[in-house]
């Protein structure tokens, strides 16, 4: 019954800034583009895959079957089933875990995971009172009842509603939450700007080296991640004004991720299927876990992954020393800094119910080809960007090399996973 779920590869489109080159592309368009690139790279045209799972954080109501519709638009066989999953910024990793679990259980032998988000083509909806009035009117049995419902419409109901970027329970945006965390953990501006600079320089180097040539397919004339600034520096970043945490804040547009558009996919299969179809095997999915913290109760919103990582490592009998590479999603530079600090904080980890601190890592194994600060962060796509990137890096380092992924997500949640080169 138990199979090795392995990463064969991945494909994404270059990520770009909101209202940039993909301003006219919908989630459907971008997800289809990423899928078709994957199909082309791995010769899957007309193939029936076990299942495709993807999702978007900002989703139009008409996109209730976004992934299935993208599959139908793609070159995959039309009888490939699909479903939408959503786990905020962890979506691309959650869909990977979902597909990998089905493969491990023998329910499917191949599948594709992914995620997409467009902050340019974000859904605008009618106000809650107007929606309720319209629903009442459409349920009315007589014209008179319908008119009665419409008579309740007030001018203020007509203002359209853009999706909110705030946590529903706290009214704070993710950046404002992270600003509280940044201050509580004493993260400096320089620490954050150094992380941001490194992200841009490492991503630029990886593009320079051709690392992404078999991971990314150009789209709408964009051939490289469009947010990337190879020439940025701590000095340049130091000039930016704080955007979160008030005038004394340390978080800027340079050390926070930009609103982005993009899509990413991962090709997964059982080891047997991969061999049978002469597909490369980069790494196997070893384990994963999702955790959450009580952010309405005051816990650090973006430190959800710490408990997940601690429990997963304990279960696997592993420590941080057992990892050749670590990927911590750069929602903000300070998320990376606080995650590293939290890993090494005995009291904090015990407070989470762990046996103790997780420890430290050699900075040289962290986000070695850059991360979301430089690449951009189309929310649901990021996990599906990280998985194939890490799998390829691990394969280069040789069999048995392990990698750890840690992703924070809205709602005080976090998704973590372990990959191991086969």
């Amino acid at each position: 019954m138990s199979h090795n779920a392995v990463v064969i590869g991945g494909n994404r489109i270059p990520f770009a800034k909101s209202n940039g080159p993909y301003a006219d592309a919908s989630n459907h368009d971008m997800l289809t583009a990423a899928l078709d690139g994957l199909v082309a790279r791995y010769g899957l045209s007309g193939a029936r895959m076990g299942e495709v799972a993807a999702g978007a954080v900002l989703k139009h109501p008409s996109d209730f079957n976004l992934t299935r519709e993208a599959v139908l638009s793609s070159a995959l066989a039309a009888n490939t089933p699909a479903c939408d999953l959503q786990q905020a910024c962890g979506t691309g990793l959650e869909t990977t875990v979902y597909i990998a679990n089905k493969i491990a259980l023998g329910q499917i032998d191949s599948g594709i995971s992914g995620g997409v988000d467009s902050t340019s083509d974000a859904p605008i909806t009618v106000s809650d009172p107007l929606r309720r009035i319209l629903l009442k009117a459409s349920a009315a049995r007589s014209a008179a009842d319908r008119m009665k419902a419409f008579a309740q419409v007030r001018p203020r109901h007509l203002a359209p509603k853009a999706p909110s970027v705030t946590e529903p329970r706290t009214g704070l945006s993710m950046g404002e939450h992270q600003a509280l965390t940044t201050e509580a953990w004493g993260i400096t501006r320089e620490e954050q700007d150094t992380i941001a600079e490194a992200s841009h320089h490492k991503l630029a180097q990886a593009w320079e080296d051709g690392f992404f040539d078999d991971l990314v397919t150009p789209y709408l004339g964009v051939a490289r991640d469009a947010i990337l600034r190879p020439d940025t520096s701590v000095e340049k970043l130091a000039k930016l004004k704080p955007v979160f945490g008030g005038p004394q804040g340390t978080m800027t547009a340079g050390n926070s991720t930009a609103l982005s558009d993009g899509a990413a996919t991962v090709l997964l299969a059982s080891e047997e299927w991969a061999k049978e179809h002469n597909q490369p095997i980069l790494a196997r999915i070893v384990d994963a876990e999702v955790a959450a913290v009580d952010h309405p109760g005051g816990a650090d919103l973006l430190l959800g992954p710490v408990a997940a990582a601690g429990r997963m490592l304990a279960r696997q009998g592993l420590t941080l020393d057992d990892f050749a590479l670590v990927e911590i999603h750069e929602a903000f530079a300070s998320t990376v800094a606080t995650t590293l600090k939290a890993w090494n904080d005995e009291d904090y980890c015990r407070g989470l119910g762990l046996d103790g601190a997780l420890g430290t890592i050699d900075p040289s194994i962290l986000n070695v080809t850059g991360s979301s600060l430089a690449a951009g962060h189309p929310f649901a796509a990021t996990g599906a960007r990280i998985v194939p990137t890490l799998a390829k890096l691990l394969q280069e380092r040789g069999p048995g090399s392990r990698g750890l992924i840690s992703m924070c997500a809205a709602g005080g949640q976090g998704v973590v996973a372990i990959l191991e080169a086969v």
């Binding site: 809650d128 203020r156 329970r169 706290t170 009214g171 704070l172 404002e176 509280l180 952010h295 309405p296 109760g297 005051g298």
Partner: protein
């Protein structure tokens, strides 16, 4: 049933009693009627509960929040203080504190008997305090009780006023921030029926010394309780002190902490330096 219980046919409408209670009393000695005012077999309206829940931030559940039961009892507060025997006028009085206990979960489909009496008139350095004591029964079982304390400024009551200073407040770092648009008071008036114009009318607010309308204290209370809704047990008691009104429109901060089965929470200015409302929630076993 105590001899002096006055059973009303239905929940009184608040307009008339409220208008009467706007007329100041000539007698400055605080006096309240001894009767209990009661309404039996009150049917709760699901649609109104849904509206209330949306306005205050609660999830619409089969079981109702404690503050909703206060709203159901509120017309009887006005009734109790609107009678001839009362010299305290609710409209001019300030709601300074509220305590209530949810003795067991109450379903929206239960018919409720609600009784309210005014009691415990006592002196305060700025006037007289009075408690509106309410209990709610389902059949013979008391399921909720509440004490709302009002301050009637300028009124007198026998005895010496105790030192009424609040517990010192230490600044907090809010971990939530709520924008409160001016509409909130209109919305809350709709769901609560509280017609006090101080919340919705600029002139009325000015007449009572506020530069702008203030949101209903019981909205702020409900909003803060709603923020804790996931951790409220099946029975709990909650007490609040209304320290400083929230001007509309405004932005407020919220912070909470939990220790030994007691949750304390503060609604503050958005920077956390000054309190609007202080709340304490305790599980009842």
């Amino acid at each position: 049933m105590p001899a002096d219980t006055i059973v009303l046919e239905s929940m009184p409408s608040m307009g008339g009693a409220a208008a009467r209670s706007l007329v100041p009393s000539r007698d400055k000695r605080a006096r309240v009627p001894s009767s209990t005012f009661e309404v039996r077999d009150l049917v709760q309206e699901t649609a109104r509960l849904a509206d209330y829940a949306r306005v205050c931030g609660f999830t619409l559940r089969d079981t109702v929040p404690a503050t909703w039961l206060h709203v159901l009892a509120f017309p009887l507060h006005i009734q109790a203080l609107g009678s001839q025997d009362s010299t305290i006028r609710l409209m001019g009085a300030v709601h300074v504190a509220n305590r209530m206990t949810m003795l067991r979960p109450v379903s929206v489909s239960e018919r409720l008997t609600i009784g309210v009496r005014a009691d415990n008139v006592r002196p305060h350095r700025r006037g007289a305090l009075v408690d509106l004591v309410a209990d709610i029964r389902s059949g013979d079982e008391t399921v909720w009780d509440g004490v709302s304390t009002y301050l009637a400024s300028g009124m007198t009551a026998p005895g010496d006023a105790p030192d009424g200073s609040h517990e010192p407040f230490e600044a907090v770092t809010p971990h939530a921030r709520w924008r409160v648009p001016a509409r909130t008071a209109k919305d809350y008036r709709r769901v609560s029926g509280d017609p006090n114009p101080i919340h919705t009318n600029r002139l009325a607010a000015k007449a009572f010394g506020f530069p702008r309308p203030i949101v209903h204290g019981m909205w702020t209370h409900a909003r803060a309780l709603a923020a804790l809704e996931g951790s409220l047990g099946s029975s709990y008691s909650v007490g609040v002190d209304f320290v400083k009104p929230v001007l509309l429109p405004g932005t407020i901060g919220f912070s909470s902490s939990h220790e030994d089965g007691v949750t304390t929470a503060d609604v503050t200015t958005k920077d956390g330096t000054k309190p609007h409302l202080r709340m304490r929630v305790e599980a009842v076993s």
